[in-house]
Symmetry: C2
Amino acid sequence: MRYKCIVSYDGYNYKGFQVQPGEVTIEICLKEAIKMMLHKDVKIYPAGRTDAMVHAIGQVIHFDLDLNIKPEAIKNGLNSFLPRDIRIVDASIVDESFHARFSAKKKEYHYLVKQREPSVFENRYMAYYKNLDIDLMNEALRMLCGKHNFKGFCSGSVNPLKDFEKTIYEAKIIKDGDYLRFIFIGSGFLKYQIRRMMGLVLEIGAKRDSLETITRVFNERDPGISHKIAPGYGLYLMKVYYD
Amino acid sequence: MRYKCIVSYDGYNYKGFQVQPGEVTIEICLKEAIKMMLHKDVKIYPAGRTDAMVHAIGQVIHFDLDLNIKPEAIKNGLNSFLPRDIRIVDASIVDESFHARFSAKKKEYHYLVKQREPSVFENRYMAYYKNLDIDLMNEALRMLCGKHNFKGFCSGSVNPLKDFEKTIYEAKIIKDGDYLRFIFIGSGFLKYQIRRMMGLVLEIGAKRDSLETITRVFNERDPGISHKIAPGYGLYLMKVYYD
């Protein structure tokens, strides 16, 4: 049986999704919860590996079990063993052709920024930038949209033979008082891509950098041109789209 | 110079306010920030010692310095050395007769409850109880108001010679959709008093206990009668009132 779960987490206290020796990650917590519940070591496939501190509202995982357990029991059982800041919000049985990562058609990420100092209760959930020019940032997002080689916005540690061509279908800002919500919907995103794009977009909004830098990063494909990386705790994996 | 500061903190990751050997507490963080900034060991007096996981919007502290530093510099300087979940929101110079604890006339605490399962982003900030009868809980709060001996709602570990007589001036519920905000304003509160009162009020609201238990706790003054203690992470020290 292949199980698909939608997972939500407050990523602030975690070193990202992927298992890393000696670090507390989302994947380790999920694997441990499955082991506690079913006494099995199960391999988990996520739609995408979120970075340290990054949150998720709609991360998707799949895993296979040689047991026939009702999805509702998987959801409630795992939640009883998971820490309070990781929740299975939905579980279902899917066809064996489903793959959390390879079947994904689009991903939606949000990035939250507050233009006044966040309270101690907001600090974990948004970045803080003052005096941002929304028009300039909208223009920056317009330039990032479409099909591009995003190597210049990718972590330098990624295999250089990787396919860096990705499509951003939509990028926009929703303003709600002091809060700015940046919305990105794309075919997929490279390691650090959104945080690096956001780092530059926010520098442009604060008038410490200019729109021309986006063109330079696209042309020269060098992550050294714009080295600002927006904090992980402002980023949310909102939704993974499948057919 | 005597400095008064209003301090806000997300208490979820802290073992309460007071210094405890080997534990990370709010007081230790404040003392360390002062030491980093001024190279001095300074004694800090809080209005009240909050428990592990309890939050504060308006905790008040005072401390003395043999230096004349502008309050704004104290605020910004300490904030630069404090963790992101502890913030000085205001600093001022006060008369030497001011004492954060002994000058306090009233304290206001809020307790947050959600009647639907909190998200991973709300989990640290509210308790979760289902199917609560608001009318019954309002009646329970009415019984708790006034001047009483609250020994039966106090931690059993407190010195039995302590003065357990306190006055609750106001106790009410504000309902906002699935969220319930319990508001308590009183002359002062004993160790665990609000969490023990809330534990019983919520049991009464869930119809697992009855209003008569409140009378019994007041009459018999035995903390063993109602041993439910509502989680610390639902509690907020909102405001300390001075003349």
